[in-house]
């Protein structure tokens, strides 16, 4: 074991390229994972922020917020469902907004939400007409408390009265106001999507059971299920995870290749060590230790690079985000790859014959 550490200390050059390759693979894993997390975060924030048990869509909407229409009769049925303690309407409008200081063609895409049951970070009572809370991503566009944003072709004014975080939807920052605000902005700017009095796109429900609410409405989901049904969320997760999987397999092959070559180089040395009493287990543990240390070094540099990347990417550039969980998971994947890769060298270590070493036949 100490020989393995000593070799790493005395001949670091031998491990530099392997560490560089593993670092690149670590960056790749962290970048791809960060992209997935960034995309998911930006698409799902508004739903994740809901303090509710269920989200209810209209039966023919395919769980699409934009297409869903819940009228007052459906809402009344949901409110009467056994166990339901609170029901609130939810509406959304994706629209271009004019922010002071931006050019006349430099619009900021936003999603205006109208709510009744407050999501996380918002006051229980929705803001007054013409006012809204803004997702703090909008700060990077120069929006401050008191800024008046004008929505859509009708320039519907909305005054920002505070901020809330992690509520992006469909990759866009959000504004949170009353249902009246939403309805007015929708009717004024999207005549093709106007809604009648009392109509909302979805219901946010606390209490009850999905079966009971479903009997009243037709499409009830837990918040987690509604998130998975958002367009593209589960598909992109599956594609990205497959890419991450193949990248881990590449890491296994790289580690296997590198340590197989190093082991071949050391066969004579291992023969001598075995001849003076070292066990195969000790020798393999040394190889494993080197692989783990190389991987940890690569993981550390990769994590630093991922954090630096996160810091330098401008808002709206690439949907990339880092989290401790993602970085640790990537390092864990690489460590598993390193251990599996090293196992390819085990057979050769076991086959080393000390007698041959003494005889100089290696």
């Amino acid at each position: 074991m100490s020989i393995a550490l000593r070799e790493l200390r005395r001949r670091p050059g031998r491990f530099v390229v392997a560490t560089a390759i593993m670092t690149l693979i670590a960056i790749l894993l962290m970048f791809i994972g960060g992209l997935l997390d960034g995309l998911t975060k930006g698409n799902t924030g508004a739903f994740r922020a809901q303090r509710a048990d269920f989200l209810v869509f209209s039966a023919t909407s395919q769980d699409s917020l934009v297409r869903s229409r819940i009228d007052t009769a459906v809402r009344a049925r949901a409110e009467r469902a056994p166990g339901v303690t609170a029901v609130g309407g939810l509406g959304s409008l994706q629209i271009g907004s004019r922010v002071p200081g931006h050019g006349p063609r430099d619009l900021v895409p936003v999603v205006l939400f109208g709510y009744e049951l407050a999501p996380r970070g918002l006051p229980a009572r929705p803001p007054a007409r013409g006012e809204a809370y803004a997702d703090d991503v909008l700060r990077s566009e120069g929006v401050r408390a008191g800024t008046v944003i004008r929505l859509g072709p009708q320039r519907t004014p909305i005054r920002v009265i505070g901020f809330v975080n992690d509520t992006e939807y469909s990759g866009q920052p959000t504004l949170w106001g009353s249902l009246g605000n939403w309805r007015a902005a929708q009717d004024a700017n999207r005549p093709g999507s106007r809604v009648g009095p009392g109509v909302t796109q979805a219901l946010v429900v606390r209490g009850g059971t999905p079966e009971a609410i479903d009997r009243a409405t037709g499409a009830t989901h837990t918040v987690d299920a509604a998130i998975r049904k958002l367009p593209g969320v589960s598909q992109q997760e599956s594609v990205f995870n497959q890419i991450i999987g193949v990248t881990v397999v590449i890491a296994v092959v790289v580690v296997a290749l590198f340590f197989a070559l190093i082991t071949v180089e050391r066969v004579a040395l291992y023969g001598v060590l075995k001849a003076i009493g070292a066990s195969s287990g000790t020798l393999f543990a040394g190889v494993l230790l080197q692989a783990v240390l190389v991987t940890l070094a690569a993981g550390a540099v990769g994590a630093a690079a991922a954090l630096a990347l996160d810091a330098v990417i401008p808002p709206g550039g690439i949907p990339f985000t880092t989290s401790a969980g993602r970085l640790l998971a990537s390092v864990a994947f690489l460590l598993v790859a390193a251990v599996i890769g090293c196992a390819f060298s085990l057979r050769r270590v076991l086959r080393v014959d000390p007698a041959a070493a003494i005889g100089g036949a290696q």
Partner: protein
């Protein structure tokens, strides 16, 4: 050459592992290239396929059909711009539909009031709609004769708008969703069926054709100068500048760059290590008269063999996968991408062997007598 091949034969596991690593990298790069291309086509294919040479959105639409609304005053102003030979309404919405007796699914619908300004520019099968209730569908999602029912809001109490697919257009999806092209009255009827509260259906964009002697780019400038609320783009720009397209390209470019770096580094490291391991043998060969050029050539032959093997294996893995569809994304075998990445990785692989080749060139035959070659 003989030595190079013999060494590969005798160390199958080592060279096999390297070839497998290269093959996996090639497979991943090509697969991701196919996903990127398929994703972009499914994202904005309908924009590229529609027939209007210039599309005019409202500035507030942020260059998306689903976000843009052309109000009547803006429509009048655009139609009056000098150089506009013809303009047609284009509407877009996404609906819940039922195709024949299958389960409900999503479909984007593009309505046009002039076939030469909004309908698909080319059909892979069938014909354009001639009668009410006919539609052209994206070829990846629909078949000729499909009966598509646009699901109406339940409160409406009717069964929704029925359409029959009479034509198919290749690569004509919008927002990664099955897409239908219909005449304007059918589009209006579908919107009204889905939302009983709608009072008036306005176009999402205008398709515009420039007058003779006016280029599409010149017309774009004139329309944009005429109103701050109009955002005119040529057809190609409308696809290229669609929100998300540049973001997807940038994200994939970073991934390609990283994979592109890993492949030559792995190859370079491998050949450097085995060159070190063979130092003694190479020194002996030099001492008995083998020229450096022969040894370097052997090294390069091995690099070529490994890279070619990895590329062939990677392409062989990619070929069947490229015939598949991922959800609504149609993957396609892209010979251009195969050629580009093969040449690039081959060149990078050969370049990566430079360090090992330098090591071979530095070998001094005299070391065979002093034991230095084994160092």
């Amino acid at each position: 050459m003989f030595l190079a091949l013999r060494e590969v034969r005798r160390a199958k596991a080592r060279f096999g592992l390297l070839t497998a690593a290269i093959a996996l990298l090639v497979f991943l790069i090509l697969t991701q290239q196919a996903i990127q291309n398929g994703l972009l086509t499914a994202f904005v294919g309908a924009i590229e396929r529609q027939s209007a040479p210039v599309l005019v959105y409202s500035t507030d639409g942020e260059r998306t059909l689903q976000g843009s609304v052309i109000a009547p005053p803006l429509e009048r102003r655009i139609r009056a711009v000098p150089g506009v030979a013809a303009a047609g309404r284009i509407g877009q919405s996404t609906f819940t539909v039922r195709v024949d007796d299958r389960e409900d699914s999503d479909a984007a619908m593009i309505g046009y009031d002039r076939a030469d300004l909004g309908a698909p520019d080319e059909l892979s099968a069938g014909r354009l709609p001639r009668a009410p209730g006919e539609a052209v569908g994206s070829a990846a999602d629909f078949s000729l004769g499909d009966r598509v029912r646009v699901q109406a809001e339940r409160a409406q109490g009717d069964a929704g708008r029925a359409l029959r697919v009479v034509g198919l257009a290749r690569d004509a999806q919008l927002q990664v969703t099955p897409t239908l092209f219909v005449a304007w009255p059918d589009y209006v009827a579908a919107v009204e069926a889905a939302n009983p509260d709608v009072k008036k259906v306005l176009p999402s964009a205008l398709g515009v054709r420039p007058a003779p002697g006016v280029s599409a780019a010149a017309l774009v400038r004139r329309v944009n100068d005429a109103s701050e609320d109009a955002d005119a783009l040529t057809r190609a720009d409308a696809a290229r500048k669609s929100p998300g397209v540049a973001q997807v390209r940038r994200s994939f470019q970073v991934i390609f760059l990283l994979y592109g770096l890993v492949a030559p580094l792995v190859t370079g490291l491998f050949f450097l290590i085995i060159t070190f391991q063979k130092s003694a043998a190479l020194t002996l060969l030099r001492a008995i008269g083998a020229r450096s050029a022969v040894l370097v050539r052997s090294l390069l032959v091995q690099v070529l063999l490994v890279m070619a093997g990895g590329l062939a294996l990677g392409v062989a893995l990619y070929a069947p996968l490229s015939q598949m569809t991922l959800g609504s994304i149609t993957l396609r075998f892209d010979p251009g991408a195969v050629l580009f990445w093969s040449v690039l990785l081959l060149v990078l692989g050969l370049l990566s062997a430079v360090v090992a080749a330098r090591r071979v060139l530095q070998i001094d035959p005299i070391e065979a007598t002093t034991g230095g070659g084994a160092r």
